[in-house]
Amino acid sequence: MIKLIRKFYYGDYDSTNPGASLNTNEKLSEETSWPLWEIFVRSKQGLDHKHVGSLHAADAAMAIENARDVYTRRNEGISIWVVQSKYIHATNAEDADSLYDPANDKTYRHPTFFDLPDAVKHM
């Protein structure tokens, strides 16, 4: 009962149709395999949760339990987030140049844009 199923690339989902119900074919194969979850771990108080990897689990509780066993065996974390991979929205690689282009021509946003007289200290 092994089938090829559609893989949701982590962090790279089809954002036009996020989390939409799977078509019949995919639904079938989902019945034989646990869905994929993305795991985020906060390494210590005061820091952000960071993506550490993914795993398969039947539900959120199991995903958290497995994430604890797999990704925090050596005190790597004090808090875990899990989210089913198909619910992640992401930008498209093809859109990168137009998407981030506005940032490129506003170099004055960086402090190094300004030449200050040497006499000015601590600015």
């Binding site: 009962m1 092994i2 089938k3 090829l4 199923i5 893989k7 690339y9 982590y10 962090g11 790279d12 194969s29 019945e31 034989t32 395999s33 646990w34 994929l36 550490v52 990897g53 993914s54 795993l55 398969h56 039947a58 539900d59 199991m62 066993d69 797999v70 065996r73 050596r74 498209n92 690689a93 093809e94 990168a96 140049d97």
Partner: protein, 327 residues
């Protein structure tokens, strides 16, 4: 940055494949990592799927020679350590299967390839572990050889694979040390324990050298993998590095390596060593090693035996979901 922009530009205008491939290669040359959704040559994808899944299978099958010894560990401390080590290997398998999945192959498909014997895994795990000293030799030599390969792979060109490797490398040095520690303790023990230690080294030495794969001139995938920076060092380069490391460490154990041709070469600034038995190597690769059938059978049984658990967990999750909807 610029390469990326150019790359995307060409993608938009449907350039010829070889032109896109050139740009892909340029990215690789400039040490820009390839991420799952980036364009990549189909052969790059296939090579990675093959290599990463083989690597994942090796971690999983690699639990078997050690797993069998957990209940015979000589002390509670050794038992706890061995359990932790074997558990790490399960984790390594998972990191790698996840990395392979980003290339579009499903976990269950890879499992199917493993239990049907279609996929390969490291031949080293087709050798039996006959004594407690083997737990030491495996950690020291087998994990030691794996580490050299994995340290190199931390810089591999495919992002998810490189990230999995970084995580794995952080855990591996514990494996090698606990192995060395087992052998070191035996080497300080009774004559019988010393003999056990030497015997394990004798049996694991040559198979460990084989872990680096065929000689460079006989390796079919090497050139392309080097160009794509999937691999960054050749088989023989890594093997030489391994011999240099182990030939020194074995002295601390007061033991020897079973190779009469092993000798320091001043000129080369590294050790010379004897010829590997390549007939044995290919024989084990082809499935005729001492434990090939047993290993696959163990995996098949575990996988099939787990089917009802996977199904039950899904059914339970569904039931809970429906309940919370109804409420």
């Amino acid at each position: 940055m610029q390469v990326n922009a150019l790359f995307l530009y060409t993608q938009r205008f449907d350039m010829e494949t070889d032109a896109i491939e050139k740009i892909f290669q340029q990215k690789i040359d400039e040490e820009i990592k390839i991420e799952p959704k980036d364009w990549m040559p189909e052969k790059y994808r296939q090579t990675l799927i093959r290599q990463i899944s083989q690597h994942a299978h090796s971690e999983i099958v690699g639990m078997l020679p050690e797993g069998g010894w957990i209940k015979y560990a000589p002390t509670l401390k050794r038992k706890a350590i061995l359990i932790a080590k074997v558990q790490d290997e399960a984790g390594h398998g998972l990191y790698l299967y996840s990395a392979a999945e980003t290339l579009g192959i499903d976990y269950l498909t890879m499992m199917e390839q493993l239990v049907s014997g279609k996929a390969k895994y490291s031949s080293i795990f087709n050798y039996p572990s006959l004594s407690w000293a083997d737990m030491g030799a495996i950690g020291w030599l087998v994990d030691g050889a794996a580490i050299l390969n994995q340290v190199m792979l931390c810089r591999t060109s495919y992002g998810p694979y490189a990230r999995a490797m970084v995580r794995i490398c952080k855990e591996e040095s514990f494996h090698q040390r606990q192995g060395f520690d087992i052998l070191y303790t035996l080497s300080q023990g009774t004559d019988e324990q010393k003999a056990m230690c030497q015997d394990a080294i004798n049996r694991w030495w040559w198979p460990s050298l084989m872990m680096f794969g065929p000689k460079d001139e006989a390796s079919t995938h090497s050139d392309q993998s080097m160009n794509w920076k999937i691999k960054r060092k050749s088989n023989d380069e890594l093997r030489g590095q391994f011999v240099n490391m182990i030939a020194e460490q074995v002295k601390v154990l007061g033991m020897t390596l079973p190779d009469p041709d092993l000798k320091w070469n001043e000129e080369k600034n590294s050790y010379d060593f004897g010829e590997i038995n390549w007939d044995e190597f290919w024989n084990v690769v082809k499935g005729n090693g001492p434990c090939n059938k047993q290993r696959i059978e163990a995996r098949r049984k575990a996988h099939e035996g787990g089917t009802w658990v996977r199904e039950a967990a899904l059914a339970y999750a569904d039931k809970k979901k429906n309940k919370s909807k109804a409420a």
